[in-house]
């Protein structure tokens, strides 16, 4: 990153230390050293190592914090090679994969600038271009006839390239692929898609070098294997030691009794505004898009004079709006941007000198990454100010600080054997010239994600893409992929067109465009949010108060609202991230240290009285305790349990316990979960003795029992949404023709029900269950949790009122789930009974 202010002078010894003995090699570096010297940049040892490894034809993974020059470490090898005198450059040599389309243009400028410097005074000109979903077809055609030296693209666009029959030809000169921000991709299905594409590229170009660039993860070796293939050798290159991060927090005023529950945190807006005022440019990260909208509104209400210097940035806003904000961030012409993970990644916004995190940081690595968005000035530290949304989050903040100090950072792992992604990829390759079965299977199995793919699974996927699987035998007209002369190909043009449009694994639901009546587009929101509004209703979107005028053809026409009336804030579908194991463990450790008076943090002092109450009324759990509280409330009888294993594992655990409980006798249980524990609420008291409870929490029969609960719950249907879309089971329609395609849109939930009933062997349904187990419920974590619970000391308390730990669970009412083994009639009558009773009471 040629930012002159960023890097201090190169240490003189590094050149002689690191250069290989080889003369040719050293001559390769002459221009690079010159360029670094001219700019007074430090040449880091890891950069030299990366270049050396590249010139020796190796693949590998470079990990280093943002802003440390890892881009140059990955990029200059190929450039040095091309700039050497005896090399003739032709065709496309380098593919640069970026997880975010929005990053492509900035990265392109950066790479082009470096290439120009190193090729100055030579007759080589290296062109760097981008190719994403936004690239025009004429530009693409030009890229085909006269390919650039390097192309910056996304995993999805790479898939689309592979789906053209001549894709292989245009990639024949490729010698290097660089995957940027690999830590962002690895844990997702886009990462799996990347693995499959890379396996394809290796087949097309056997000499291919694959390099990844990643932030720090706990499982770097595995991350590298996932990138370059599990059978290949690679070089892991450790970058510079990360700059230090300071974690601060906004503490509620002494006299203010801070809320025990909540997730907005806007009561601290005044103090947050002061913090923002104290720096020239701040990024305010929130955990959800609605939270971002609400914080933006609150900040503006508090400081109306900031109208022109504060902005909102999240994934549902129109691209042009976001682009404009990013440009202002780059120039520093903005005081504050309220954003979501939409700004987690990306080129450095150097002017940002402070980051605020609203609500739980959820994970150590995540906070580290967000903090890293600030402090690019020389000698600066990254500073992040955490804003708690409820009292217990203060403990989390203190814990994340100590986890950071001890460098306990999370791992990220690739999902395994995703049949949906494989189905999509096989259709892609069948389009791009076709494939032969044995060779393709061997290729797929070189990837980390599919190394354990069984032959049966492979046959099922082949069957699915050729005949639609078991399900589609009744439809002679349905043949996505056709086998002829031992090669699988796509022949139908409509299928080809539709498939290319559907490539991609990022989930998106039916979205409604939000547009001003005069035509300016603001972004998108989910259909069911708009469906609840009537024309004339006010809602908050894109940081504006809008009045709905009318809805037509998947577009909501709006105007700026007049008057003072406030409106609803849309809620976007999306699962909330769980707190990481590392952070949850750290929270428990912090609690013990607080009890032993060995922990000291301003946040803990602030919540001291609340922790004391918890201790007085019940127990303050540590890593070796399991606390269960049985509390009677107006709504019924509740069991609160706090394993501190993160919301996903808690969901599984709550489902498991609810299911085992309802198998014993007919009852209806309502579940509520958060990152610390879960609540089961019943109309009748729950059987309480320790032996009974231990039976409910046993790890025996875990998988069977949890599958039963998954089947009776909504959760597998929820997970199926993504799978159905990726595998092409739901069709999102062509852009601009949403109305006419409505008839072929069935909700994935309905499809799930139908497949379950009529096609019981469907592997996609199976995959939905498996994903529920592995990703949604984190079954491994759940199992460990159950085993560790067994070893812990059990505290079964019956507090007279809701404790500080119980209160947030009790107060939360969204996303609760119900399990019932009661007869429908009994249940309806009981519910009506309580409603009537409540109505009668309210009349008194």
């Amino acid at each position: 990153m040629p930012d002159k202010t960023k890097q201090p002078r190169r240490k003189s010894k590094s050149k002689s230390d690191c250069t290989t003995e080889n003369d040719r090699a050293s001559s390769l570096y002459t221009k690079t050293y010159q360029w670094f010297d001219d700019n007074n940049w430090t040449l880091f040892e890891f950069q030299q190592k990366a270049w050396d490894a590249w010139h020796q034809g190796e693949s590998g993974l470079i990990h280093s914090p943002t802003g440390s020059g890892k881009t140059l470490a990955a990029w200059l090898g190929p450039v040095q090679h091309a700039a050497a005198e005896n090399v003739k450059v032709s065709g496309l040599n380098v593919l640069w994969l970026t997880p975010l389309r929005a990053l492509a243009n900035d990265t392109c400028k950066q790479l082009q600038q470096a290439a120009d410097k190193l090729t100055a005074d030579t007759n080589v000109a290296l062109r760097v271009e981008t190719r994403t979903g936004d690239t025009s077809s004429s530009k693409r055609a030009k890229q085909k006839s006269s390919p650039p030296f390097a192309l910056i693209t996304t995993p999805e666009s790479l898939s689309v390239m592979l789906s053209y029959a001549d894709g292989g030809k245009s990639l024949s000169k490729l010698h290097t692929v660089v995957v940027d921000e690999w830590h962002e991709l690895i844990g997702s299905k886009r990462g799996v898609q990347t693995q499959l594409c890379l396996a394809r590229l290796k087949k097309l170009c056997p000499q291919l070098r694959i390099w990844g660039v990643s932030a720090t993860l706990a499982n770097l070796d595995q991350a590298m294997d996932t990138l370059i293939g599990h059978q290949a050798d690679g070089r892991l290159i450790q970058g510079v030691i990360p700059k230090s991060v300071v974690v601060d927090s906004i503490l509620p005023q002494d006299n203010q009794r801070f809320r025990w529950s909540g997730h907005l945190g806007v009561e601290l807006v005044k103090q947050a505004a002061e913090v923002i005022d104290g720096a020239s440019t701040s990024l305010v990260f929130t955990n959800t898009r609605s939270q971002a909208e609400i914080w933006f509104k609150s900040l503006l209400e508090h400081k109306p004079e900031w109208l022109d210097s504060i902005a909102l940035h999240h994934g549902s806003l129109d691209k042009k709006l976001r682009q404009a904000i990013e440009d202002r961030l780059r120039t520093g012409d903005i005081r504050c941007v309220v954003c979501t993970s939409s700004l987690d990644l990306g080129v450095d916004f150097s002017p940002v000198d402070q980051v605020l995190q609203i609500g739980s940081p959820k994970g150590v690595a995540r906070l580290l990454q967000r903090a890293g968005r600030s402090g690019h000035q020389p000698g600066a530290v990254s500073r992040v100010v955490c804003v708690p949304t409820h009292a217990f989050e203060l403990v989390e903040i203190a814990s994340v600080r100590s986890a950071l100090e001890e460098r306990r950072i999370e791992s990220r792992r690739s999902p395994l054997r995703c049949h949906d992604v494989l189905s999509q990829h096989l259709v892609t390759i069948a389009l791009g010239g076709g494939f032969e079965e044995a060779a393709m299977l061997a290729e797929v199995k070189t990837t980390y994600a599919y190394q354990s793919l069984s032959n049966d699974e492979w046959q099922w996927v082949l069957d699915f893409i050729t005949r639609g699987g078991q399900a589609l035998q009744g439809y002679p007209q349905y043949h996505k992929v056709v086998l002829s002369d031992a090669t699988y190909r796509v022949k139908d043009k409509t299928i080809a067109l539709r498939h290319r449009m559907a490539i991609g694994t990022i989930n998106s639901d039916a979205q409604i465009n939000v547009v001003f009546q005069r035509g300016k587009r603001l972004g998108t929101t989910e259909e069911n949010f708009i469906a609840r509004l009537k024309p004339g209703d006010i809602f908050q979107f894109a940081g504006k108060r809008l009045e709905l005028r009318r809805v037509a053809d998947m577009t909501a026409y709006v105007k700026l609202a007049s008057g003072k009336k406030t409106g609803a804030v849309p809620r976007w579908w999306g699962t909330q991230m769980p707190i990481s194991t590392e952070l949850a463990d750290s929270v428990l450790r912090t609690l013990v240290e607080w009890k032993q008076k060995t922990a000291s943090a301003p946040e803990l002092d602030c919540v001291g009285s609340m922790l004391e109450l918890q201790q007085q009324w019940s127990v303050l759990p540590g890593p070796n305790d399991l606390l269960i509280e049985l509390i009677q409330t107006r709504e019924g009888y509740s069991m609160f349990c706090y394993p501190f294993a993160g919301r996903l594992a808690h969901e599984g655990l709550a489902m498991l316990v609810a299911n085992r409980l309802s198998a014993k006798y007919p009852l209806t249980v309502t579940l509520q979960i958060n990152d610390y524990g879960f609540e089961l609420q019943c109309a009748e008291p729950i059987d309480v003795c320790e032996d009974n409870l231990k039976e409910l929490f046993t790890a025996d029969n875990l998988v069977e029992d949890i599958l039963t609960s998954v089947n009776s719950g909504e959760i597998a249907r929820r997970q199926f949404r993504d799978i159905a879309r990726i595998a092409g089971l739901v069709f999102q329609g062509y852009p601009g023709s949403s109305k006419t395609t409505r008839q072929v849109q069935a909700s994935s939930g309905l499809i799930f029900d139908v497949l379950e009933k009529y096609d019981s062997g469907n592997l996609l349904v199976d995959q939905a269950r498996r994903e529920v187990l592995e990703q949604q419920l984190e079954i491994q974590r759940l199992k460990q949790c159950l085993l560790s619970i067994k070893q812990r000391k059990w505290h079964i308390c019956t507090p007279e009122r809701l404790t500080p730990l119980a209160f947030p669970l009790w107060a939360e009412s969204v996303q609760s789930q119900t399990y019932s083994s009661e007869k429908f009639q009994t249940r309806v009558e009981r519910m009506l009974g309580t409603l009537e009773k409540a109505a009668a009471e309210s009349l008194d």
Partner: protein, 224 residues
């Protein structure tokens, strides 16, 4: 399986948990929103939905005809899902059922989904009613809107209701929804989805469970 007898406009109606209503005075089985052939529309678009769903739905429908010994089957719109071709298996299946019920009078009110081909495909043995059928005290139609000629019985909305009491428990199921001037039947098709309704306190509401229909009209009143 137990149906629930209600009185509507002085007429007895039997509401069945399988989402049909029987009108004994006219020996008529009322059903709405069958959406037969939906899987073919999706299948043609390359979306892999198992075949045979519509056949099951139709089997189920005629079993209910037999159960009530109905002499007339009145379908309140959206019998089909879209543009269908004659080779789709459910069409033959439908005619097989008609052949076995040769005394049955089948009338279909055209729904918004039927406009493409339904009439073209199902001309023989089926009476098509383009707009609505007036049979005092009722007006049978597809899209519910008040009609001065009588009490409207319609479909189209796929009504479902969520019961929520003061704890966090929620229960959603399809409902028969009888308003002041019109009644809406739940959707019959297996593969159709639901629309949540917000009834008025004066509405009558009957929720369908796996084996019973329950009058929950009180729920709307106690929520106020």
């Amino acid at each position: 399986m137990k149906d629930l007898e209600i009185i509507c406009q002085s007429q007895e109606l039997k509401l069945h948990p399988d989402k049909v209503a029987y009108w004994p005075a006219a020996k008529t089985l009322l059903v709405a929103d069958v959406h037969a052939g939906k899987e073919h529309i999706l299948g043609r678009a390359g979306i892999s939905i198992p075949a045979g769903i519509s056949e099951d739905t139709l089997d189920h429908l005629f079993a209910l005809v037999d159960h009530y010994c109905a002499e007339r089957l009145l379908i309140l719109g959206d019998f089909t899902h879209g543009y269908h071709t004659r080779d789709e298996a459910w069409i033959k299946h439908f005619y097989d059922h008609l052949a076995q019920h040769d005394q049955l009078n089948v009338q279909i009110v055209a729904g918004n989904h039927d406009k493409h081909t339904a009439k073209r495909l199902l001309d023989k043995d089926v009476v098509w009613i383009p707009d609505c059928l007036v049979e005092p005290p009722f007006v049978f139609t597809h899209i519910p809107k008040p009609d001065e000629r009588g009490y409207v019985i319609a479909g189209h909305l796929h009504p479902a209701y969520v019961i929520q009491n003061n704890s966090k428990e929620k229960l959603q199921a399809p409902v028969f929804w009888f308003q002041q001037s019109m009644g809406v039947l739940p959707a019959f098709g297996h593969f159709t989805g639901a629309g949540k309704i917000q009834p008025e306190t004066t509405d009558r509401l009957f929720i369908t469970g796996p084996d019973c229909v329950i009058d929950i009209s009180g729920v709307t009143a106690s929520l106020r």
